[in-house]
Every structure is written in structure tokens, then in C-alpha cells.
Amino acid sequence: MLAASGKLDRRAVVNALLADRGDLLVIAGLGAPAWDITAAGDCPTNLPLWGGMGGAAVMGLGLALAQPTRRVLVITGDGEALMGLGALATIATKQPPNLSIVVLDNEHYGETGGQETATKHGVDLAAIARGAGIADARTITTPDGIAPLREAIHTAAGPTLAVIKIDAANLPLKLPPREGAYLAARFREAILGPQAHHQL
């Protein structure tokens, strides 16, 4: 699960987190996290985002509130999470028991040339999440943290946030479908059945 740098490999981490995922609903923030969940296996219960930077976590909140009996996982990056920091307060206020957020933190804007993010300079997203009121907010730097996190994603009794420090290498692109209407329709049908396409 480690890259040559000794840091966690993002694709190996995401593969492990999504193993035997059952009916887990997964939203991925734009860029590398969307490629990562696609590399793990594209499927209707994946919603990879192509835009809306800063919105992934709170999109997960809207889904978690709408579907309280389903488990919802948002996988995103440090740049996307930093753009939507206020969402941590919004999520903490609602305390959704079925929402987990994983931040794959490579401390860089990987899609735009590898510029450093604020986490490179000490900004601690897990501490910010705890300060907002997400009690289960952890930082993971070694492989032994991954299995317990996978368990929490499926069973935790409150919202969770995990910052996973990962290797900063850009991996080969693994692109999901680009048509948003298709991605949304298949995701909704996976949740709601054929009724998804009729009037609510």
C-alpha cells in the first residue's frame, strides 16, 4: 500500500476502502479522487464529479440526509476540501450518522502543476473538522489505519472525517464517463430504482 516515497499510494488506499463495499454510495471530488474511484471500478453507485470544486462534502451531506438508511462516502482531495472548509461546520451541525469524508491529502494541487496547498504548510484538516464538531476526525499516515477506517465508513454512529496522507505522484488517468446527465441518472436509479425517472 506504500509508494516508493514511503507514503501511502492513493489508488491502493482507495481500492482497500472500497473493497466489498456493498451498497455504499460514493461521491468523489473533481480530479484525481474521481480517477481513483474509477480505477477501483466504475459502477452506478459511484458519482465522480467533474466540477463544483468545494462542493463534494456538502453534496454528500444532502444525500446522507435524504437517504438516512444508506451509507455515504465522499472521497476528495486537500485542495477541494480547503475550498469548502465551511462545509465542515455545516456537516457538524447536522451530525449525519451515515456520512464519511475521506481527504486524500498529497499537500499539492495535483491537476494544475503540483503547486503546494495549505496542508503542506501545516494546516490540519482533521483538527479543523474536530473544531467544527466532527468528533471522529483522524489523520492516517500508515497502512494499519486503513482497515479500521473502512470499518468506520460502514458502521460509525456519527459523521467521520479522515485525512490520509498520500504520495504526491500523479498516476495514469483513469477517466469516468464525462456526461453528467448519465452519471446522475444512473446514480439516482441505483438508489431509487426506476421510479427515479418519474415525478417525485
Binding site: 461521491i27 463544483g52 444532502g62 440526509l65 435524504a66 453528467g180
Partner: protein, 183 residues
């Protein structure tokens, strides 16, 4: 009303906020995302008092676009309540409902629109309709109480029937206006 007030809110006798609430109920809206505005305060109180409505108070309005996108994925209908200044915060996030063909009704109380006191409200208030339309939103305005219910109903119906962002702008003239005959 006091035209020099820093915040304007409907007179106590105005019942259009209650009629908006009735439209939300009739349209089966069960998630309401908002950043508070004085013009929406009575509607917000009605929503908070309703156990069938999940109210989510946002730190910034763009969160509401993402939140309600997630709600729609999960089969729940929502609306976003905000002041016109908040529309500016939503612009890029509106990419998501356009991309995903997600219904996204917004009910916007206007500032910087009619008899404004605060100069900082003018730039965004003056641009609100233009920037919403630039991002593909169907915009309708209500400037008198008689138009509110029909406008909000149309805004919600067009969003959910045609899968796109829509907005009702509640004019500042309405928000500050008296309901004649009731006071």
C-alpha cells in the same frame, strides 16, 4: 416600512411568506437550505417549526447548490433560500446542476434593487438576474404580493419538471411594501 433600515423585512401583516410556505408543502419540498435574510425570516420560522422539513443553515450559499444536488440524487426535493448577495457566491457551483440536469429552485430576496440604503448592496443586487441567467437559470420576479405565490409555484415546477436551475426574485419593493388594508 423604514426605508433607511439596515435590513428590511415584510410587515407583520404581509402573508406572502406564509403562502410561499404553503407552496413548499404542496410541492413536497422536504429539504430547505438557507443563509438567513431578514426578508425570509418568517418563512424560515415556518420551516424550522415543521418536523417534515429538514432545514440546513449554510456557511455560504454555494453549499446549498451542492447540498440540494445531493438531496436530489437521494430522491428528495429541496429549495435554496437566500438574499441576492448570496447569488454571487453560487455562480460556479451552478455548474453542477447544469452538468447533472438537477432541479435547483432558488427563492431570492432582493437587496440593492429598489430604494436601497446600503451602497454595498447595489453592485450584486443590480447584477443578480443577469448573472443567474448567464448561468442558465430561468428567472421570474415578484414585485407585488399578488404575484408571489404563482411565481414561486412556477419556479419550483419548472425546476422539477424540466431539470434545471430556476429562481424567483422577490423584489425589494415587495419586501418593504405594506399590505394595504391589513394594517
Amino acid at each position: 416600512m423604514d426605508r433607511d433600515a439596515l435590513e428590511m423585512r415584510p410587515d407583520a401583516a404581509a402573508d406572502w411568506p406564509d403562502r410561499i410556505y404553503a407552496v413548499l408543502k404542496a410541492q413536497n419540498i422536504t429539504q430547505v437550505a438557507l443563509v438567513p435574510d431578514a426578508g425570509h425570516s418568517r418563512l424560515i420560522k415556518r420551516c424550522l417549526a415543521d418536523n417534515a422539513i429538514t432545514v440546513v443553515t449554510l456557511t455560504t450559499e454555494e453549499e446549498g447548490i451542492a447540498l440540494l444536488s445531493g438531496a436530489w440524487m437521494g430522491g428528495v426535493k429541496g429549495v435554496l433560500l437566500m438574499q441576492s448577495s448570496g447569488v454571487g457566491n453560487c455562480i460556479n457551483m451552478l455548474s453542477l446542476p447544469i452538468l447533472h440536469r438537477t432541479p435547483m429552485p432558488m427563492i431570492v430576496t432582493m437587496r440593492g434593487d429598489y430604494g436601497e440604503f446600503n451602497p454595498a448592496q447595489i453592485p450584486m443586487g443590480n447584477a443578480t438576474q443577469t448573472v443567474l441567467e448567464a448561468m442558465g437559470t430561468l428567472v421570474r420576479r415578484a414585485d407585488v404580493p399578488e404575484d408571489v405565490e404563482a411565481c414561486v409555484d412556477a419556479t419550483i415546477r419548472m425546476a422539477f419538471n424540466t431539470y434545471r436551475p430556476t429562481a424567483t426574485l422577490l423584489g425589494q419593493r415587495l419586501i418593504g411594501a405594506k399590505t394595504f388594508g391589513k394594517d
